[in-house]
Amino acid sequence: MIKVQNFEVRVPDFRLQSISLDVGPEDVFALIGPTGSGKSLLLEGIAGLVPAAKGSVQIGGVDVTHHPPETRGLGLVYQDTALFPHLSVRENILYGTRYHELDAPTVRSRFDRFVRRLDLENLLDRSPVRLSGGEKQRVALARALMLQPRALLLDEPISSLDPLFRDAIRELLRSLHEELHIPFILVSHNFSEVLYLANRGAILRGGRIEQRGTIRALFERPETPFVARFVGMQNLWRCSAREGWARVGDLKIRLNGPAVQGDDVFLALRPEDIEWVRENANEYDNVFQGRVMDLDGRGFYVRVALDVHGVRFSAFWMRHVVSRHSLETGQVVRIGFSSESLHTMRVDENPITGEGAPDGARAL
């Protein structure tokens, strides 16, 4: 169990502040955010590699805030794997064992276990310099796991890899988490990457936690426009929302369920939740007519920009549908979306929100 409370780190030109989170052995906790949001710095802060300016870090109930990194017992795997280039794969894997009072049979059995588990038998005498990205990642994992860490900290473990290896490493991390039953903390700038791996997470922005919760909640119920944009809600409008209706420009959009009300709030909608309505218009509680302004092919789907009574919509439609019905720029189409796909949020751009942040964190 890792518990971070009101944690603050200062480096030149950047400050990580008011960070509170707790990660249990059942969690794969994702620290998500754009480049420069401080997520890797937070990871190093938890590992003790950068000093805390404020707050505390507890591991298994022990306050380690001022303990040096080598005594914290955390496994750290960097994005570029940080394998020692002057040592062989075997020497890399065994590097930390001499600092952990392990007897030879223990070292041997763990070594055999992880070498077999991570499929490294044929790489042991090679230099890590010439390994593929996936192989390096596996060696770095073995090196960390040899020491039975109390938690595993992973800095962008997947996005740096060749697409070819991504699925394999993702799968491996998932099954390792089930086997080891220790907290995983995972840094990523890519939300779709963590959807598969993580169960909880926090979205960072400018050194603060913008929102925190289950991955599902982050994905489905963003609380700020920043998070909404980050999790892919590309349609984001300022509107007034009252009693089940939102007004965006001249459009009157039906809302559903709990909504933030007010004269100036944000309304968000995912592009993939907007359908092209050719029949059965009554399946949707919001149907509008709009003009196609732009078609932008993106592989399997097409991003369609629409003008609906002066309001811009962005929709993702399957490529084969668009080409079968020969959709063209300038064409007038009907679009529909369910009121359940809509999310409202306050305009306040920088609130601290989350699942029970301590009062200290809220006050800052």
């Binding site: 990194p69 955390l74 750290l76 940080a82």
Partner: protein, 263 residues
């Protein structure tokens, strides 16, 4: 095949710089080829010459050794830590490159003289600077220091801090990390720094001639032979000094190539 415009352009650039290259190559070639083999043999058979050459190499290596022991920690601190006054320390390290060499010699002598407490302290230990190996080696360490510290610092900087952090997270303390990760990885740079420091020290004349005319190092001997007997008698010693410098240079290139292959 017609040379491309790029090739022509780069050839032009090269020809612009050619005079400078020739300035180095021509005099050295002339000097290397002028003395006959008999002259060279005669020079090296002269015990005075042989001793002077050996003295030059020995004192230069000793100076490099001193830089290794005392300069490596400084280079590591400069490569890894930010602290107030760091620019000043870096400036001090670079200072010996800028100061005229006789000035260095005079400065060291004035500190080691009987009028200065340090000089008194040293002489109470029986250490004389004027006209001794102590003097030569301290002057050579002075002039070689910037070459050693800057090269070694660049070596430390080339080791990613993430590797050190990974080592710490695996349980190794600061010291173990330095000795198991940082030093082995920057070793080629350290060797390179020692070679540059040695090469610089071997060629030192201006400061040495002030601090220690005797025991005579090779450059001082060359100067003496030149003023006393003329060009012809100084040239063979010059050739031997160049050969030794060249061997150091080859060693340096070899190490830096080895470094690149490894990376």
């Amino acid at each position: 095949m017609k040379p491309s415009r790029d090739t022509l352009f780069f050839s032009l650039l090269f020809f612009v710089s050619l005079p400078l290259v020739l300035l180095v190559v021509l005099p050295l070639t002339r000097m290397l080829t002028q003395p006959g083999l008999a002259d060279l043999w005669e020079a090296i058979a002269d015990p005075v010459v042989l001793r002077a050459l050996a003295r030059s190499v020995g004192t230069s290596l000793a100076a490099a050794g001193i830089c290794l022991v005392f300069g490596t920690p400084l280079a590591y601190v400069l490569a890894r830590k930010e602290f107030p006054g760091k620019r000043l320390v870096e400036g001090i390290v670079d200072l010996p490159i800028m100061i005229p060499h006789p000035v260095i010699g005079i400065a060291i002598l004035s500190l080691a003289g009987r009028n200065h407490p340090l000089g008194q302290f040293l002489s109470s230990l029986g250490i004389q600077v004027m006209g001794t190996y102590w003097g030569i080696i301290s002057v050579l360490a002075f002039v070689g220091l910037p070459f050693f510290v800057n090269t070694t610092k660049a070596g430390f900087e080339s080791v990613p801090t993430r590797l050190e952090k990974a080592s710490r997270s695996l349980g190794a303390g600061v010291g173990h990390t330095l000795f198991r990760i940082t030093l082995p990885m920057s070793w080629p740079h350290i060797v390179l720094g020692m070679i540059m420091c040695t090469a610089r020290a071997i060629s030192e004349f201006g400061a040495i001639v002030i601090v220690a005319y005797h025991p005579m190092t090779a450059p001082v001997l060359i100067y003496e032979r030149f003023t006393a007997y003329g060009l012809r008698y100084s040239q063979p010693i010059c050739v031997w000094l160049i050969v030794i410098s060249f061997l150091l240079f080859v060693g340096m290139r070899f190490v830096s190539r080895y470094r690149r292959v490894e990376a």
